[in-house]
């Protein structure tokens, strides 16, 4: 069929081979090294449950090679060990258990203090499952949202039966399996039953079968995440049938992690499907009928088999084949691979030479997914996952689940009562032995959950599939309490999942644009993120833009502002009731600044409210606060049972700020309306026709100059901007962006919400008491403000002057104490001073005036810094 490269050498593979089976056929026996002690690990489960066969394929680490198809030209390598996995110098750690006890990072390398930082570097370098290529660009797959009536997870007997029955009941069914249907099952009765059911299911139009599709998590809903090669499915079914089968019980005894030790299904799969014997001389320990069948599979494959099984089984074994009745494994021996095993039967212990030890001592439900959904009634188990072992039981169980006759109460099954292990490796993933659990218990970590956290058992790639029950049994036996020894919490992902798969369908920022976006690019605007908006920060020279505002005229795209029309018979009542600004006496054509407070009296937004006639109001908010403002107003309208109509006009209206001492000159040339100071005073609102564009114009002053905020139909934005710009050429107009605006507003002492403010700011802390009418009968937050007015002010936002502009965020010191922080700062060209805003905490009930900020001095001053009487913006 072909070959792939394995650490520089070609390895041939046959049709149907996985990477693991091809490598084993080629003589590879050590597939990995254990996490901590670098012990050799060989193939074990061959079902994707254990960590032993994890390799790096084509640069992708963490792949279970027993479930990865062999591919021509692929590059395969092992990850652990130095200088190589085969000859690993770091395996000396296996002789240094004394220095690497459980929880050693809390105990060893702690003195002197620098020892740990050195040791940590070495430990990080020598552990892990391979190297991730961080320069490789992720290929983020698509996401797909599906909503079948029934989702069946698992394409075994129970799953196929459930799908068939559900489809027969008229349901739309999605069946997913992490592999191909039946690929992990050795030839025999089980595979025959699967094929028969599969043939039925594939004829049904209402069943969609998705192979190589791994359910990695079940969430509230239920929502099930299914990872595929090139997409992530987000499934929201009415009902989920978890038919994820069983894992073979992981035997724990001394030497139990040697290469050459197999779980029964793994050995049978290797021999029965891939035609490769796990060894020539195998000891098979079989406690179940299935185990006996695995032993027969190996015998038929030409392996010399010594059977260790209950007498009822050994009596059925060929007379000329060796058998030990009622025996149990005591210890396995070997160095690179197993060489012998001690079997105790009665009073006698015998040592059997072997090159393979195959263990088939029972099944346990593979219930990691199921245990994520114990609170979800729509998620039920079927087949082995429900403890219904055996083909007939599995099919019957699947049928009932498919029909909806199974209760989710069955998901909360009691665990088995098998005894806890006494020696050997409990957790193969994390190299945790029984002795480690005993030591941790002695140290006082005495429950399954805390043992897990301290020893890291169950936290590896298998996520407790093999070791979780052993941990629980250990804690139960030691404590005598089933609750103390409960299974630890199961959380997604149930199987390893790539990070780029988890990123499927996620939009880091959903970009908003104004209608002037392309125009800004044309003008050479430097666009960047401002919240979720793309906005121009400058057009090349922000200081020139700043000067244009202060000395001539300028335009700015403020279309990002939140904009709302509030209408209806209770519009005025609602706005007067919720805002601390008085609205009851706001006459048509007039506007007021408003703060929005929450019920604790904290500032949540600010804006302008305008009365626009016919009992309607136009409310603006900050760009980032639009959605929250809408929700807030709607919520209060409902709570107060007030009849209003609220239209969010943020998207439908653009807005252009025309500002500067010559702004009126520009505007008057473009409209026939009277825009004089007398006809259109500060904080007035007028409807103007500007070069044929209907505008709602507000006289505002955020930047401290004569300004008109022109709200217009969005699609007219480019034409309006061009008309203003053309008319402004004569007065030296240029556009300005956010960088210039930052200094302009700072000079006026205006805060930026969330930059200069904190979540628990009330108006007094911000020096905004003037914006609150405490004489009003009520408004949102009034009671809280009344209470806070009786308390001393502990912190406030202040204006600052510096010797030299510091870094934004720099701490403010009084002597050696940090008493505040700079939130905004800049060199002011107009004032020829370095100014800023910042937080200042009271010390002994007083606010200091002189402070230190790094190596510069700061003085607290009154704001606004620029035009404190507001003459320019009221021009």
């Amino acid at each position: 069929m072909g070959s792939f490269d394995f650490e520089g050498k070609p390895v041939p593979f046959e049709e149907g081979d996985t990477v693991a089976s091809a490598l084993f056929r080629a003589g590879v026996r050590t597939f990995s090294r254990s996490l901590k002690y670098h012990r050799r690990r060989g193939l074990y489960c061959m079902t994707g449950d254990c960590p032993n066969c994890i390799l790096t394929v084509d640069g992708e680490p963490g792949l279970r090679s027993c479930c990865t198809d062999a591919r021509k030209g692929a590059s395969v390598e092992r990850g652990e060990g130095w200088p190589s996995t085969e000859r690993d110098v770091l395996s000396v750690a296996d002789h240094a258990h004394r220095f690497l006890p459980v929880g050693f990072y809390y105990k060893t390398f702690t003195k002197p203090r620098f020892a740990w930082s050195l040791a940590e570097k070495v430990i990080r370098r020598t552990t892990g499952l391979g190297d991730l290529d961080v320069d490789r660009a992720p290929s983020i797959p698509q996401v797909r949202h599906v909503a079948p009536d029934v989702l069946v997870i698992g394409g075994g007997v129970a799953g196929l039966a459930a799908a068939r029955v559900a489809a027969g009941d008229g349901k739309a069914v999605l069946l997913c399996d992490e592999g191909r249907i039946g690929e992990k099952v050795a030839p025999g009765g089980s595979l025959d039953r699967i094929r028969a059911l599969e043939a039925d299911v594939r004829t049904l139009d209402s069943v969609t079968v998705l192979e190589r599709s791994t359910a990695v998590g079940i969430y509230d809903g239920p929502l099930v995440a299914i990872a595929r090669e090139d997409e992530l499915l987000r499934a929201r079914p009415e009902r989920v049938v978890v038919a994820t089968g069983a894992v073979e019980r992981h035997p724990v005894f001394e030497g139990n992690d040697l290469p050459g030790i197999w779980l029964g299904r793994g050995a049978a799969r290797l021999a029965g499907i891939h035609g490769v014997v796990p060894g020539n001389r195998a000891v098979v320990v079989a406690s179940t009928a299935e185990g006996l069948s695995h032993a027969s599979t190996l015998l038929d494959a030409g392996v010399r088999v010594a059977l260790v099984a209950p007498r009822a089984f050994t009596e059925r074994w060929p007379a000329d084949a060796f058998a030990i009745p009622d025996g149990r494994v005591v210890r396995a021996h070997g160095s690179k691979v197993i060489s012998s095993v001690d079997i105790a039967a009665g009073d006698e212990t015998r040592t059997l030479r072997c090159d393979a030890l195959v263990l088939s001592i029972g099944l346990e439900p593979r219930d990691g997914l199921l245990r994520m959904a114990t609170e979800l009634d729509a998620v039920v188990a079927a087949g082995d996952a429900a403890g219904a072992f055996g083909l007939d039981a599995a099919e019957e169980s699947g049928g009932r689940a498919g029909r909806g006759e199974t209760s989710a109460a069955g998901n909360r099954r009691n665990e088995t009562s098998a005894p806890a292990p006494t020696a050997g490796y409990v957790c193969l993933c994390e190299d945790v032995a029984v002795s480690d659990l005993e030591q941790a218990w002695e140290e006082g970590w005495r429950s399954s959950e805390i043992l897990k956290r301290y020893t890291t058992a169950t936290m590896g790639p298998c996520q407790g599939a093999l070791c979780g029950r052993h941990l629980a049994r250990f804690a139960t036996e030691r404590s005598g309490s089933a609750e103390t020894g409960a299974r630890t919490t199961s959380r997604p992902p149930a199987r390893p999942v790539r990070l780029d798969t988890l990123a499927a369908g996620i939009d880091e920022i959903v970009e908003k644009r104004t209608s002037l976006h392309d125009l800004h690019l044309e003008l050479g605007g430097h666009l960047g993120w401002s919240g979720s908006w793309k906005r121009p920060f400058s057009y090349g020279d922000w200081r020139r833009e700043y000067h244009a505002v202060r000395e001539d005229a300028s335009v700015m795209d403020v279309g990002t502002l939140g904009k709302f029309l509030v209408a209806g018979r209770d519009a005025r009542a609602l706005l007067d009731r919720v805002f601390p600004t008085r609205v009851s006496d706001l006459s048509d054509g007039r506007a007021r600044y408003l703060l929005a407070l929450d019920e604790a009296g904290y500032v949540i937004d600010d804006g302008i409210i305008s009365a626009v006639g016919e009992g309607r109001f136009f409310v603006t908010s900050t760009s980032g606060g639009a959605d929250a403002m809408e929700a807030w107003l709607r919520n209060w309208a409902d709570r107060l049972d007030l009849h209003v109509h609220l239209v969010n006009q943020t998207a439908m209206l653009g807005a252009i700020l025309l500002a500067g001492p010559r702004a009126r000159e520009v505007l008057s040339g473009l409209t026939s309306e009277d825009v004089s100071r007398e006809a259109f005073p500060y904080m007035a609102v007028r409807d103007l026709d500007v070069v044929g564009v209907p505008c709602r114009a507000l006289r505002v002053g955020f930047v401290g100059e004569l300004g008109y905020e022109l709200h217009h139909p969005r699609r007219s934005g480019p034409a309006l901007w061009r008309a203003l710009s053309d008319a402004g050429v004569a007065v030296g107009m240029r556009p300005h962006g956010l960088d210039a605006m930052d200094l302009l507003r700072l000079e006026k002492g205006h805060f930026f919400l969330a930059q200069d403010t904190l979540p628990d700011d009330h108006p007094r802390k911000l020096g905004m008491e003037w914006a609150v009418d405490m004489e009003k009968e009520s408004f949102v937050g009034k009671a809280a403000l009344q209470r806070m007015a009786e308390l001393p002010l502990e912190r406030k936002l202040v204006g600052l002057e510096f010797d030299r502009t510091p870094e934004r965020g720099a701490p403010l010191h009084l002597d050696d104490r940090v008493v505040g922080r700079v939130t905004s700062c800049s060199r002011s060209d107009a004032l020829e001073r370095d100014i800023g805003l910042g937080w200042l905490r009271a010390v002994d009930g007083r606010f200091a005036r002189r402070l230190r900020c790094g190596d510069t001095q700061a003085i607290v001053v009154e704001t606004p810094f620029y035009d404190p009487e507001g003459k320019r913006l009221r021009a």
Partner: protein, 157 residues
């Protein structure tokens, strides 16, 4: 073949009492969407704005508080048709339509109003997200032979 058509529409927002709104019957070429109990959206051809506002105003004359607004500028519209339309929607949204009708909800993480009619999907998105939705539709159509057609006026045909 999958086709994406930038669509010119007029959108009229009608806010009034539920009792008043149920009396509103749009002309054939327009589509009526119930946004909320007290809010309807009429979608029609661009030149139909005045007529739809007039019809809405007449129908709602009994409600003094009614508001009828042309909000066309606030919306961008896209029409998807052809093989793969439902696949694109599956990749962008949990919304499911069974046959013709109106839905509203999250599509590509933005609020969209969706009209399914005659095997076409009309998606109306707040204009601020026009480019975002366009790019997400194109990404979701990977592998589906998408053709972006020239802009066309709204049609229910």
């Amino acid at each position: 073949m999958l086709e994406l058509i930038p669509t010119h529409v007029c959108v009229i927002s009608c806010l009034a009492s539920h009792e008043a709104l149920v009396a509103l019957h749009p002309p054939e070429a327009a589509y009526l969407c119930w946004v909320a109990d007290d809010e309807l959206m009429l979608v029609g051809r661009p030149e139909a704005s005045d007529e739809l506002q007039r019809l809405a105003g007449e129908a709602l004359i009994g409600d003094d508080d009614a508001v009828v607004l042309d909000v066309s500028d606030g919306w961008s519209a896209w029409t998807l048709s052809g093989a793969g339309t439902d696949d694109v929607l599956e990749r962008l949204s949990e919304l499911k339509h069974s046959g013709d009708g109106y839905l509203q909800g999250d599509v590509a993480h933005v609020p969209v109003r969706l009209i399914a009619h005659a095997e076409r999907l009309h998606l109306l998105v707040p204009a601020t997200w026009e480019e975002h939705l366009r790019s997400r539709i194109r990404a979701a159509a990977t592998g589906l032979d998408l053709r972006v057609s020239p802009p066309a006026d709204w049609s229910l045909a």
